[in-house]
Amino acid sequence: MQKHAKETSFESWHHEYADGLFRFCFSKTSSRDVALDLTQETFMRVWDTLHSGKHIENPRALIYTIARNLIIDHYRKKKPDSLDVLHDAGIEFGEKAQAENSTAYNDALRVINTLPEVYREAVYLRYVEELKPREIAEITGETVNVISVRITRGMQELRARIEGKTKT
């Protein structure tokens, strides 16, 4: 791939994935400003990868992997405790959602945030960002089977919670 081809590829990735990536970052941070910064930083790193001459096999998986790591870094810098400690304490990303979006969005986010993190991430990436299980496995470093289990169980839990909420 020559210089021009790489630039064209980068532009097409930006065009194709910017919205989804921003949405992913926003769902994790609940701040449009932070999500925009993270989106920008992600694409900068993708550019760096191209600059280094590395071949990018699956751009979408790479983009989400970088973004995921940046989000973790963002929380690490922001919070004194590790993410694991925060999770153990029941604190989830995006829980303190600011009313920057519609009520329906905040309601939806609130429901999905009740899922355990591993299920939430798998369900979100599969059905909102429409990534394939193989890509999610690549992003999270898990096997495809583990991801498939998480997707299925996550959806079962989500359904159970909605039904429970409806009954109450």
Binding site: E7, R23, G53, A104, A108, L158
Partner: protein, 396 residues
């Protein structure tokens, strides 16, 4: 908030505003201007040959000179086709000849074909070097790396095709799987430890391509069903990739049979959307299997003279078995067992593609091992389970 699908759809509503998009575009533009890509970009992994003369720091001029050489030198490109790692013309083979084919492969199907072809060529090169006892560790590592990269791209293209045309995806996966199976047998027949790690790579890819094929089968189930439950089904079935028999059980439901006892009943059921779709899918697989049967028959006639009488007997037996299977699958299709017929046709396709690769192998170099390969194939065939519809499917 009605159900989980509504919730997930609601989450999709967030997008960049025009202002945010513009800001992002401007900032990234500035960053790119500050850090432009180097002009003299070396060929990335998928194009760079490990044995390339380009490795000596003359990438672009060397590339240009090779192109000139090809255009001026007439038969150079053709001569390079026989090159193996270590030969002077090997870089022409990989970085010129093959890249030209890549450049002309527009559709995902063509791309999958080209990448499969390249992966197979790397295996053939490993075989040839092993026979010549010049498969050094370095060459082997590079060949494995390149094989892996091409095979990965085949899987990606198949995954892409699965979304829109699962039958074609199954066919492509089956073809590649057959080729890898044949090459694995050839490598095993070489009886040298040097190719052990190559075989491992092939096995690992075989597992992946098998998964891609199963995924395509699942996509076939959901191809005309875009209801919210469809995605759930896909997730549930993909979960079963580690236990193919469970998936096949699910898959066989498409013939509208609830249990093995009900197999005969399905023929009397009125056609449903599923059965109609499967009949169409089986018809397409039938066509592919028929082509493969005819092609293999022709190749056999061409190669017959160089085969020993024992080898001829074995190949003819395989061809006859495949023809019987094909006829059986046609009967299944006529009787309304579309999903079973689909799998049976696919099996014929697989066996014929495997035989194709074996027949096209260079007999002059590895003739004795080939005899063993054909023995392996025949034994494998003889050891198959009884030909009940259920057992045929359990392969998946």
């Amino acid at each position: 908030m009605k159900n989980e699908q509504d919730i997930l759809n609601t989450l999709k509503n967030v997008t960049l505003t025009a202002e945010e998009r513009s800001l992002l575009h401007t900032r990234l533009g500035e960053y790119r201007a500050l850090k432009p890509l180097p002009e003299n970009v070396t060929l990335p992994g998928r194009m760079r040959s490990p044995f390339s003369v380009f490795d000596f720091g003359r990438s672009m001029p060397a590339l240009a000179s090779f192109f000139i050489l090809v255009f001026v030198g007439g038969g150079v490109a053709q001569a390079a086709e026989r090159a193996v790692p270590g030969d002077l013309l090997y870089p022409v083979k990989t970085a010129v000849n093959e890249e030209v084919r890549v450049a002309f492969a527009g559709s995902p199907e063509a791309q999958a074909d080209v990448e499969a072809w390249r992966a197979e060529r790397r295996l053939e090169e490993a075989q040839q070097l092993a026979v010549k006892e010049s498969l050094t560790e370095e060459r082997k590592d590079r060949l494995e790396e390149n094989f892996d990269a091409h095979a990965l791209r085949v899987e990606e293209r198949i995954a892409l095709i699965s979304e829109n045309d699962p039958v074609l995806a199954t066919e492509l996966a089956s073809r590649f799987e057959a080729s890898l199976t044949a090459h694995e047998a050839i490598l095993a027949s070489l009886e040298t430890e040097k190719t052990e790690s190559v075989k491992e790579k092939v096995r690992s890819r075989l597992a992946k391509i098998g998964e891609a094929k199963r995924y395509a089968s699942v996509s076939l189930r959901k191809s005309s069903d875009d209801s919210p439950n469809t995605r759930m089904f896909a997730a549930e079935v993909s979960l079963k990739t580690a236990a193919p028999e469970v998936e096949v059980a699910q898959f066989s439901l498409m013939a509208e049979t609830d249990s093995e006892d009900d197999v005969s009943a399905s023929a009397t059921l009125p056609p449903t959307e599923d059965t109609t779709r499967y009949a169409a899918a089986a018809e397409r697989m039938r066509s592919a299997a028929k082509d493969a049967l005819e092609k293999t028959g022709k190749i056999y006639q061409e190669k017959r003279a160089v085969l020993s009488s024992e080898q001829q007997r074995r190949v003819e037996l395989q061809l006859a078995t495949a023809r019987d299977r094909f006829s059986e699958a046609e009967r299944m299709l006529q009787d309304g067992f579309s999903s079973e017929a689909f799998f049976e046709f696919e099996r014929v396709l697989f066996s014929m593609n495997t035989l194709n690769v074996l027949l096209n192998n260079d007999t002059s170099r590895i003739d004795p091992p080939r005899l063993r390969i054909i023995e392996i194939e025949e034994t494998h065939d003889d050891n198959d389970e009884p030909e009940t519809y259920e057992n045929e499917e359990s392969r998946f």
